[in-house]
C-alpha cells in the first residue's frame, strides 16, 4: 500500500513524443484509471511505472522514493497483462506462487498466500490445471491472483478485460470492483473503454496524444468535462457537440436555437448537452429536426438527428414511435448545456 | 533491454564470431602480402655402394631458423595477387596483345588457374541457383496438387539429397556414373558408345557437376517454397476464382507475387552457398577437369612439400571480394526493405 507520483514524465520514441510532461499524484489505496483512445500514451505511462520502459525525462516516485533506475524486480509492483502472460508449463498454483519464489518470500508463507489468492478469485478447484486447460476468463483471474498474491505497493493492470467477451467482461468488472474494495491496494488501470473507467475508478485520468486532459472523479468527469475532447469521449452515447454562435445568452446554429444560457459575450462556441438531458416534446421549442435514425435499446429509445454537420442523440421513452424523416421537437434545458471554446476545446465557464 | 544486459547475453556468441570470422579476415589480408621463405639449399656428399656424389638438399635446420625469425615469410606486397596463379596480369597482357581472335584469347585466358576456377565457379553458381529454385518450386507445386497423405513420404525422400553430407552424396553419384556403374553403363548402352566416360570430357564433367548441384540444392528450395505455398492467402485466391481467373492466371497474379520474397531469400542464400562449390569436385574426383576458387585455396594449403599460405590467403581475399560483388545488388535492395520495416 503506497502512494505514487509521476513528475514531469516524458517519453520519446524516435521523433515522436508519446508522453509529454505528465504530472500525476496517486494516493494510497486509490483506483486510478488511465483512459484514452489508442496511441494516447496511457499504456506507455504504465509501462514506465512498471520499469518495462525507460523515461526520456521526468521522475517516478513510489512510496516516497525515486525509482527511475530500479529494475521491475526491485520495484514493489505487480502487473496484470492484456494477454495474461501466464507461464504455460506451470500449473495454476505454481503460476501464482512464482512471484513469491522470485521475491524470496519465506517458503512457509507460500501455501497460505496462494490459497488465499485462489479463493479470492474463486479458482480454488483449478489449482492443478495448466493455463491451456482454462477458459479466457479463468486465465484472466489467474493473472489477477498472481498480481495480488504478494500484496504489492502498486498494482498495474493493462486492459485486462479487453480479451473477454461482453458478458464475461461485465461480470469480471463487478468482481474487480469488489476485490479492490476488499483489498484497497493502490491500482493503476489502463483502458480505452470509458464504461470500465467510469464504473471502476476512484479517479479517472483522461489522456489524449500524450497529454492529460482531465483528472477527476467519474462524477465530475461526466458532469463537468474540462474540454470538448473529454466531453466527446465520455458517456454512452457521447455528449452531443454542436458548433454555433452565442450572443446575449442565445445559442444559434443551423436548425437549433437555445435561449436562457448564462453567458455574456458574443462569439463562436461549441455547445454540448447529453442525450438524457434533452427530451421529446409536442411543440417546437428551439430544436426541431427530421429523425435520422431510431434505435430501441431495451429500457429506452435513442433518436438521432442531423443538425448541420453534427449527429445529435436524444433519449426517449422505450415505447416512443417515430418514423425516419418525421419532424420531431426537442427541448434542451439551458441548465444542462456546456460551452466549449471553438478552437481549443476548453470549457468556458459561465 | 538495457545495453549492459544485452552485451552480457551476446558476449559468448559474438566473441566466437569475432575471433574465428572477423579476425581471420585481417590475418588473411596480412598473410596475402607474404610468400614462403626461400628454402636454403645445402650441397651434401652422399656415399652409397655405387660411389660418392654430390646432392642438393634442403637445409632443414636453417629453414627452421629462418621460419622462426620470419614466420610470415618473405614480404611480397601485392605481387602474389598479380602472379600467374592468381590475377596473372603479365599473362593476361600477353594474351591480349596476341594477334589471334577473341575466341582463342578467351580459351587461353581460361587456361590460367584463377580464371579457370572463376569460370567454373561462376558458371556453377549462375546455372545451379536458378535451376535448383525452379526445380524446388516444381516439386512444391506438384506436392501441393497431390493428396495430403503423400506429403510426409514425399518430403522424406526429397530431403535425402540435401541431408546427406555433400561430398558423400557426390561419391554416391560418382560411383553410379562411373563407366562400370549403373548409370555409366546404361548411358553407354543407350547412346551406343561403349567407350563413353563421363569423367574424361571436361564438358561432360561440368554438366555432371551442374546436375549434381541442382539435385543437391533443390530440396531446400522445395521446403521453403512449399511452406510459402501453404501460406498463400486463401481469401485472395478465392476472390480470383470468383473473378474468373484460370489456374495459370491464379499462379501468375496471386501465388508467384506471394512467393517473391521467399524466392529472393533463396536466391541470396543459394548464390552464397553455390559460390563455395568444392566438396562436389572432390567427390567426383574432377579436379583435373573442373576447378573452383575454393578448390584453389584447398590445393594451396595441401601443397605437397609445404603449404602455400600466402597464395591461399590471396585466393581467399579474391574469393571474398567476388562474393561481396555478387551479393551487393541484392543486399542493397533488401536493406531498403528492412529500413522501411524497421523504421515503421
Amino acid at each position: 500500500m503506497a502512494d505514487a507520483r509521476l513528475v514531469n514524465l516524458g517519453k520519446r520514441f524516435g521523433k515522436t513524443d508519446v508522453v509529454k510532461a505528465l504530472n500525476l499524484d496517486i494516493r494510497d489505496g486509490e483506483f486510478i484509471v488511465l483512459l484514452g483512445p489508442s496511441g494516447c500514451g496511457k499504456t506507455t505511462t504504465m509501462r514506465i511505472v512498471a520499469g518495462l520502459e525507460e523515461t526520456t525525462s521526468g521522475q517516478i516516485w513510489l512510496n516516497g522514493r525515486v525509482v527511475n533506475d530500479l529494475e521491475p524486480k526491485d520495484r514493489d509492483i505487480a502487473m496484470v497483462f492484456q494477454n495474461y502472460g501466464l507461464y504455460p508449463n506451470l500449473t495454476v498454483y505454481e503460476n501464482i506462487r512464482f512471484p513469491l519464489r522470485m521475491r524470496k518470500i519465506p517458503a512457509g508463507e507460500h501455501r497460505r498466500r496462494v490459497l488465499a489468492a485462489l479463493e479470492m478469485v474463486e479458482l480454488t478447484d483449478f489449482a492443478d490445471r495448466r493455463p491451456a486447460q482454462l477458459s479466457g476468463g479463468q486465465r484472466q483471474r489467474v493473472a489477477l491472483a498472481r498480481a495480488i498474491v504478494r500484496t504489492p505497493a502498486v498494482c498495474l493492470m493493462d486492459e485486462p478485460l479487453s480479451n473477454l467477451d461482453a458478458k464475461l467482461r461485465l461480470s469480471t468488472r463487478v468482481q474487480l470492483k469488489h476485490l479492490h474494495h476488499a483489498h484497497r491496494s493502490t491500482t493503476i488501470y489502463v483502458t480505452h473503454d470509458q464504461t470500465e473507467a467510469m464504473t471502476l475508478a476512484d479517479r479517472v485520468v483522461v489522456m489524449n496524444r500524450g497529454l492529460i486532459q482531465q483528472v477527476a472523479t467519474p462524477r465530475v468527469i461526466y458532469g463537468t468535462p474540462a474540454n470538448a475532447f473529454v466531453a466527446g469521449f465520455i458517456g454512452s452515447p457521447a455528449m452531443n457537440l454542436i458548433h454555433g454562435r452565442i450572443g446575449q445568452g442565445v445559442f444559434e446554429a443551423s436548425g437549433i436555437r437555445i435561449s436562457g444560457l448564462a453567458h455574456a459575450g458574443a462569439h463562436e462556441v461549441i455547445l454540448g448537452f447529453r442525450a438524457e438531458d434533452a427530451s421529446v416534446i409536442e411543440h417546437h421549442c428551439g430544436l426541431s429536426a427530421p429523425v435520422y435514425s431510431m434505435e430501441l435499446l431495451g429500457d429506452h429509445s435513442m433518436i438521432t438527428f442531423r443538425i448541420g454537420d453534427a449527429f445529435v442523440a436524444v433519449k426517449a421513452a422505450k415505447d416512443h414511435q417515430a418514423e425516419i424523416g418525421e419532424i420531431v421537437h426537442i427541448a434542451v434545458p439551458a441548465g444542462a448545456c456546456h460551452l466549449f471554446h471553438p478552437i481549443t476545446g476548453d470549457r468556458i465557464s459561465p | 533491454m538495457p545495453h549492459r544486459t544485452f552485451i552480457a547475453f551476446i558476449m559468448p556468441s559474438l566473441c566466437t564470431m569475432l575471433i574465428f570470422i572477423a579476425l581471420p579476415l585481417v590475418s588473411l589480408a596480412y598473410q596475402s602480402l607474404f610468400i614462403e621463405a626461400e628454402k636454403p639449399i645445402r650441397v651434401v656428399q652422399t656415399c652409397d655402394p655405387f660411389g660418392c656424389h654430390l646432392e642438393s638438399r634442403v637445409d632443414s635446420q636453417a629453414l627452421a631458423k629462418l621460419r622462426a625469425q620470419e614466420p610470415a615469410g618473405r614480404f611480397n606486397g601485392l605481387k602474389t595477387y598479380t602472379n600467374p596463379s592468381h590475377l596473372a596480369f603479365a599473362d593476361v597482357a600477353r594474351i591480349w596483345r596476341q594477334p589471334t581472335g577473341i575466341a582463342s584469347k578467351l580459351n587461353q585466358l581460361f587456361e590460367l588457374p584463377l580464371y579457370r576456377a572463376l569460370a567454373f565457379t561462376l558458371g556453377y553458381t549462375l546455372i545451379v541457383t536458378p535451376l535448383s529454385i525452379f526445380l524446388g518450386f516444381g516439386i512444391a507445386a506438384a506436392t501441393n496438387t497431390l493428396p495430403d497423405g503423400l506429403r510426409a513420404s514425399i518430403t522424406y525422400v526429397t530431403l535425402l539429397p540435401m541431408i546427406v553430407p555433400s561430398v558423400l552424396g557426390a561419391l554416391v553419384l560418382f560411383w553410379m556414373i562411373d563407366s562400370r556403374g549403373v548409370i555409366g553403363s546404361a548411358l553407354a548402352y543407350l547412346l551406343n558408345e561403349p567407350d563413353l566416360s563421363l569423367k574424361t570430357s571436361p564438358t561432360l564433367t561440368w554438366v555432371t557437376l551442374f546436375v549434381y548441384g541442382i539435385w543437391q540444392s533443390a530440396p531446400y528450395a522445395f521446403i521453403v517454397l512449399f511452406a510459402g505455398l501453404q501460406s498463400v492467402p486463401k481469401d485472395t485466391l478465392e476472390s480470383a476464382m470468383i473473378d474468373g481467373a484460370t489456374r495459370w492466371a491464379r499462379l501468375r497474379y496471386v501465388v508467384l507475387p506471394h512467393l517473391r520474397p521467399l524466392i529472393n531469400f533463396l536466391a541470396i542464400i543459394s548464390l552464397m552457398d553455390n559460390f563455395r562449390v568444392f566438396e562436389a569436385i572432390i567427390g567426383f574426383n574432377a579436379a583435373a577437369n573442373a576447378s573452383s576458387v575454393s578448390l584453389l585455396i584447398f590445393e594451396d594449403l595441401r601443397s605437397s612439400d609445404s603449404p602455400l599460405y600466402g597464395s591461399a590467403a590471396a585466393s581467399s581475399m579474391l574469393t571474398i571480394l567476388c562474393i561481396a560483388v555478387l551479393l551487393l545488388p541484392s543486399m542493397v535492395s533488401n536493406w531498403k526493405n528492412f529500413k522501411l520495416k524497421a523504421g515503421a
Binding site: G51, K73, F98 | F9, T145, L146, Y309
Partner: protein, 292 residues
C-alpha cells in the same frame, strides 16, 4: 487440402504424379542402389557386365558363397579402424551441438528482445559472415594454430565449427524467440526475475522445440563437415567424412573401393533412419528461418 482438389483437372493430376515419380526416383534411387551394392563385392558393384550383376550378385555368390556379404563392412570398420573415426565424429558433434546451442540461445534471446537498432545490424553482420567460405577462413587459422600448438585437436575443430555455424544458429533461434510473446518475459520481470532468470526459468522451457530444431541443424553441420575437420585435425584424430575422402586415395592403390562404399553407407544410414523422427522439425525450422 489443396484449395480445390476435387476440381483439379485429371491431366494436371496425372502430370504432377508422373513428375513426382520421376523426381522421387532421382532423389532416392542412388541411395537405395548404393545400400544394396554395399553388400556385394567389387566385381558386381563395378561390373563390366552391367547392372544386372549388381542386383543379382553373381560375383558375390561366386566369391563368398552368399548373395550378400559383410566383407566390405568388416574391412572398413575393423581392419581400417573406422570405429576410431566414428568416435571422433561423436566427440566433435556432441561438443559442437552443446556449445553452439548455449552460445546461440543466449545471443539470439538478446537479439530478439533488445529493441535497439544495433541488434538488427548484428544480425546483418552475421549474414555477411555466413557468406564467407570456410576454406578461406581456415587458410587464416593454420599459422596461428600451429604457433599456439592447438592444431590437430578435436576441441579446436569443434570450436571453429561452432563459430562458423553461429550466424545460421543465431538467425534460426532468433526467429523462434520472436514467436514467444513479450508478455511472458515481462510477467517474469515484474514477478521479480533478473533477465537471466526470466530467460532460464520462463522462456527456455517454452522454447525447447525451437532449441531442438536448431540442435538438429547443428548436429547435421558437424556430422557432415569435411572442410574444417580435414584441415584442422591430424590423421590420428580424424572424423568420418574426411577419413572416407582420404580413403579414396589409398583404395585406388590397394584396390578395395568397396571399403569406401561400405564407409559411405555406414555414415549416411544413421541419417536416413533419424530423419523421419525429425522431419517435421527440420521442415519447420528451415521455413521459419526465412521469416526471421
Amino acid at each position: 487440402m489443396p484449395l480445390n482438389f476435387h476440381r483439379t483437372p485429371r491431366a494436371i493430376l496425372f502430370a504432377a504424379a508422373a513428375f513426382m515419380v520421376v523426381w522421387l526416383l532421382i532423389a532416392g534411387f542412388p541411395f537405395v542402389w548404393t545400400l544394396w551394392g554395399s553388400f556385394k563385392v567389387e566385381g558386381d558393384f563395378f561390373s563390366y557386365q552391367g547392372w544386372i550383376d549388381a542386383v543379382a550378385g553373381r560375383n558375390t555368390l561366386a566369391q563368398t558363397g552368399h548373395l550378400v556379404t559383410l566383407g566390405a563392412y568388416r574391412g572398413v570398420w575393423i581392419e581400417e579402424q573406422f570405429w576410431k573415426a566414428a568416435l571422433h565424429t561423436s566427440i566433435v558433434t556432441i561438443a559442437v551441438v552443446m556449445v553452439s546451442l548455449s552460445f546461440g540461445s543466449l545471443g539470439a534471446y538478446a537479439l530478439a528482445r533488445s529493441g535497439h537498432r544495433y541488434a538488427y545490424w548484428i544480425l546483418v553482420a552475421a549474414l555477411v559472415f555466413r557468406a564467407i567460405p570456410g576454406i578461406a577462413l581456415i587458410s587464416g587459422y593454420l599459422l596461428p594454430f600451429f604457433r599456439l600448438n592447438v592444431w590437430g585437436y578435436p576441441p579446436t575443430a569443434a570450436l571453429v565449427l561452432v563459430a562458423l555455424n553461429q550466424p545460421f544458429t543465431l538467425w534460426l533461434l532468433h526467429s523462434f524467440f520472436l514467436t514467444i510473446p513479450r508478455d511472458l518475459d515481462e510477467s517474469a520481470l515484474v514477478d521479480g526475475c533478473t533477465r537471466f532468470q526470466a530467460f532460464r526459468l520462463v522462456i527456455m522451457p517454452v522454447m525447447w522445440p525451437g532449441v531442438v530444431t536448431t540442435g538438429i541443424f547443428s548436429f547435421l553441420t558437424a556430422y557432415s563437415d569435411f572442410v574444417v575437420c580435414s584441415m584442422l585435425l591430424s590423421d590420428r584424430n580424424q572424423t568420418m567424412v574426411p577419413r572416407i575422402v582420404a580413403f579414396l586415395g589409398t583404395t585406388q592403390e590397394t584396390g578395395r573401393p568397396m571399403y569406401a562404399v561400405a564407409a559411405v553407407v555406414s555414415v549416411t544410414l544413421p541419417l536416413f533412419v533419424l530423419i523421419p523422427f525429425f522431419q517435421k522439425r527440420i521442415v519447420n525450422g528451415l521455413a521459419g528461418a526465412v521469416k526471421g
